[in-house]
Point group: C2
Chain length 194, copies 2
DNA sequence: CCTAAATGATACCAAACGGTATTGTATGCT
DNA sequence: AGCATACAATACCGTTTGGTATCATTTAGG
């Protein structure tokens, strides 16, 4: 893929607008005018609005999971601290101090809410992105020699998703602290291998 | 309010459709035809579609929080069991064995996702409903003499919201069990009064 | 320099959107 | 019986929707 500059503009602009106002609430003309793009440019790169949404989710997956991957890979971390770092990152996200742009909830959860049918490609893409996050946390838990790393990863993710939902609905960052505190209690007596 | 039969039909039909497909995805004509209602009937009871959405959220708040209130008030429960009952109810909800109809995520969270602006009346109504739930759990925690009942309530709610988000996005009920397991660990060494 | 592809700018389309107006018919209270 | 209200049915309004067609202009590569 040589120079996907326009295609990138489309995804970038759409991502910003979808994030700020929602998928159905934003028409393609808004995206085109905001991004100074022509209509035919959109339809040469994507067959439909839904396909553009899929492209946005794909880009978002790389951005979000990529960021958390960096957080989890910090060489200064070890043990519980590695998993707890997730919640410091969350707080930064909620307070708009992250590379993910203005916080407006999780785009994947919102996508699955606006496209509720389980067989909808948009819904599936969102589910895949979320599963990738869980797998990432499980790998980190395994690395730190926690027992039952997958169960731990799912529970950590529960706290993370709860914090995102509450932060979105009440426009506050405190849920990140509450979640970190709960995760600390969870990890306090979680068994390790060897 | 004497006989709000048509008004009730409007809210009931709209609630079902919004729950199944989302707020922006459902037009008023869908609601009217599905509920065998005339257009002017809608606009005699509500000044706008947004007002209807507010009516739906109000009704939903009574249904959802009312149900959880019953769950928490069960006289057979005591101590940790009273709070853990939330997660059994969650699992029933996810598996469509609840009085709340087919599970499709939390309508309040989805509303706040489709109406992201914090000053939007719809967003505010959703936030109020969620806060009412937290207060309810805090009251139950206080009743059972847990220390820091409000912090405990927020953390229980984190797990609950996380479970809802994951159950919605992956179409599974297992997050309810994971959340209950995590809540058990949380409650295991949570201090009590006296 | 020349050609071919990518783009911008418009005009256009049928359908659906939220909302209003009109008219005729039930319905229920006094 | 009389009368106001609630309702269904329908036509209509202007706007916006996602998507297509046309054509001139820019851009990049050989």
């Amino acid at each position: 893929m040589p120079r996907p500059s326009r295609r990138n503009d489309l995804i970038e602009t759409a991502q910003t607008l979808f994030n700020a106002e929602g998928f159905h609430a934003v028409g393609i003309e808004r995206i085109l005018s905001e991004g100074n793009l022509a209509k035919m440019t959109l339809y040469r790169h994507f067959p439909s609005k839904d396909a553009l949404i899929l492209g946005v989710l794909e880009a978002r997956e790389k951005a979000v999971n990529g960021w958390f991957r960096e957080v989890l890979a910090d060489p200064n971390l070890q043990g519980k601290g590695r998993l707890l770092a997730i919640f410091d990152a969350l707080e930064a996200w909620f307070e708009d101090r992250s590379p993910l742009g203005k916080f407006s909830g999780c785009l994947f959860v919102r996508a699955s809410g606006e496209f509720p049918h389980p067989t909808d490609p948009v819904h599936i893409a969102a589910a895949d992105a979320k599963q990738a996050f869980i797998d990432m946390v499980a790998a980190a838990a395994e690395l730190e020699r926690f027992k039952k790393p997958r169960l731990l990863a799912r529970q950590i993710t529960l706290l993370k998703e709860g914090a995102i939902a509450l932060a979105q609905i009440q426009g506050a960052s405190k849920p990140a602290q509450d979640a970190k505190n709960a995760a600390e209690r969870l990890l306090a007596d979680w068994p390790r291998k060897k």
